[in-house]
């Protein structure tokens, strides 16, 4: 009916009508769009945007959990200046820096394993599962198992080391010189599986012709790896680098279960110190300042990497 009428109407009139119709359709579409994304937006607002704004405000105050609202004191950037001379905080930050080493080490091990597993082994399926086991298991259970394995005198690891003739093996998580390294070792052990799976997927996307052509030119295995494999998986490496670095700043479970930042703050990291300040010492203002530092660091890393990626990633 309507279409017939439209045909009969003068062109200007029909155009106006169509516009009107279209706009009402468009309006419906807009409402539908908002409705579909509304739950997610409300969640993001409630659980991320609002809290991060609140963290920013709280970071400029001096306030304890046990105090009422009117005892809140405005201190501006005082908390941040205080952080700069807080030895535990600086130590934690330094430990985060050292902890970053786990990311490239883990990537290197995973890439090597991925190349080998992808091409030159039997039982591929078994290997994917075996290396993936630690990633799938709960960190708390794993941490508890390692706690016992690392037991200074009776633990299987040190018993093995002593049987091999090492008289004074490290005390691992009980030793200030080794606690951070121990946690890093376990972190690498956990993340190899994830990196490996992602790398294998990346390797499988490389066109076979590239290798065939290189073989015809007489390239050996190392040449092929250096000139084809490595550049071709660079987007994957880039992804693993970003996510790995950001994840390394969020490591909490391992430290909380294994060392609680000790002994003598030797394995404390930013997030642990933040938790300790906020929920053990109940110092909201000061811990919020730490949260802001964490936020800014992660933000900067992301920006720097997005800018820098163009220089070395092949898409």
């Amino acid at each position: 009916m309507r279409i017939q009428t439209e045909e009969l109407l003068a062109s200007s009139k029909s155009a106006r009508l169509r516009k009107k119709q279209k706009s009402s359709l468009e309006k419906n579409e807009h409402i539908a769009g908002w409705l579909f994304v509304a739950p997610m937006l409300i969640g993001v607002f409630m659980f991320v945007l609002l809290p991060i704004a609140a963290t920013f405000v709280l970071s400029m105050t001096d306030w304890k959990f046990v105090q009422s609202m009117d005892q809140l004191k405005w201190v501006g950037f005082g908390n941040f200046t205080e952080l700069m001379s807080d030895r535990v905080f600086l130590k934690s930050l330094l430990n985060n820096g050292i902890f970053l080493l786990t990311v490239p080490i883990c990537m290197a091990i995973s890439l090597l394993l991925a190349v080998v597993i992808n091409k030159s082994v039997y039982m591929k399926g078994y290997f994917k599962v075996a290396f993936f086991m630690p990633y799938i298991s709960s960190v708390v259970a794993i941490a508890v198992v390692w706690q016992v394995l690392f037991h200074p005198s009776a633990g299987p690891i040190n018993q093995t080391l002593m049987a091999l003739g090492i008289d004074n093996p490290p005390k691992w998580i009980a030793d200030p010189n080794f606690s951070l390294i121990s946690v890093m070792l376990i972190q690498i052990w956990i993340s190899v599986g994830f990196n490996l799976i992602v790398y294998i997927a990346g390797l499988q996307a490389i066109p076979k012709q590239l290798y065939e052509a290189a073989e015809m030119d007489g390239a050996n295995g190392w040449d092929k790896f250096r000139k084809i494999t490595f550049p071709m998986v660079s987007p994957t490496s880039f992804f693993l680098l970003i996510t790995g670095i950001i994840a390394s700043f969020k490591v909490f479970d391992l430290i909380a279960v294994l060392t609680k930042g000790g002994p003598m703050h030797s394995s404390s990291v930013l997030v642990w110190h933040l938790y300790d300040t906020a929920f053990v010492n109940l110092d909201i203002g000061y811990s919020s300042a730490m949260a802001m530092v964490l936020f800014v660091i992660v933000f900067l890393i992301t920006i720097i990497q997005w800018v820098g990626q163009k220089k070395w990633v092949n898409y």
Partner: protein, 276 residues
């Protein structure tokens, strides 16, 4: 017959030995959970216990003074409900951001994506204050809501919705179907495998979560398995055979899920990884 390649065989053996480094801690955990306490640290390691005490160990963990069945039930409840809610919210948002055209859509998606960078720890304290104000503190509902708005889930599912050709949707529109009907009848069935993958991953992550229950739960009877595991370790400090039985119990459901959903888990990780 296919010939066995010697070089490939040697490589397999070497990689197999490496893989033992990743499996032996689990083997040790499992065998210790069946031992009597006195045999735990016997050296050389008894991989197969000489004196079996498995039944008693597991009975003590599951139905003893600190009963795991209760915490199991809590974990199951929280993980299942979080998974269902998170899949729903993410699927709706993913469809809205990919298949419904509305002017705000593009920049709203950018905002949501940008929040992926915010470390949860940076917003923990205000979340805690908020929860105490609105009465969600120390409740399973609060915990479930915390895990239900996943940017990663939305992003992953959006990739799949984008793969649906617009012609399907245009055709349905011409037939007079509204966006809701298109979502429910056409789009959702197509991305079902992707939702299954995300659901498995979300379940595993929620089951394994330690930080949120630690901060947002106080009542012992509400504890999830990870908190219970940690507390059990503290209480039973020196009973390593019991602790290992508890650890095996905490990992077991994940293993079962992984064995049955292996392809989904690995594909999900690989896909999320490659597409970034």
């Amino acid at each position: 017959m296919k010939q066995i390649n010697v070089r490939k065989l040697i490589t397999t053996v070497i990689v197999f030995l490496t893989s033992l480094l990743f499996l032996l801690p689990f083997a040790w955990m499992l065998s210790t959970s069946f031992k009597i306490e006195a045999d735990v640290f016997t050296y050389p390691i008894q991989w197969i216990p000489e004196r079996w005490n498995g039944f008693n160990n597991y009975m003590e963990v599951w139905f003893g003074d600190y009963p795991f069945y209760l915490y199991y039930w809590n974990s199951l409840k929280v993980a299942v409900l979080t998974t269902v809610l998170s899949c729903t919210v993410s699927a709706l948002a993913a469809y809205g951001f990919s298949k419904v055209r509305f002017p705000a859509g593009k920049w709203l998606f950018l905002i949501v994506l940008a929040t992926y960078m915010v470390p949860q720890q940076a917003s923990l304290v205000p979340q805690f204050i908020l929860y105490r104000q609105i009465g969600l503190f120390d409740s399973h509902l609060g915990l479930i809501l915390l895990g239900s708005f996943s940017v990663l889930g939305t992003f992953m599912l959006r990739q799949f919705f984008m793969g649906i050709h617009d012609e399907y949707i245009e055709a349905a529109k011409i037939d007079g179907a509204g966006q809701w009907k298109i979502f429910w009848r056409i789009a959702l069935p197509i991305v079902k495998p992707a939702i299954a993958t995300y659901a498995i991953l979300r379940f595993i992550w929620t089951w394994n979560d330690y930080q949120n229950p630690l901060i947002f739960l106080r009542t012992d009877a509400l504890y999830t398995i990870q908190l219970a595991m940690q507390k059990f370790t503290t209480i039973n400090g020196e009973f390593y055979s019991l602790i290992m039985a508890a650890a095996v119990s905490a990992i077991l459901p994940l293993l079962l899920i992984f064995i049955f959903g292996q392809k989904q888990v690995i594909d999900g990780i690989a896909l999320g990884g490659v597409k970034g």
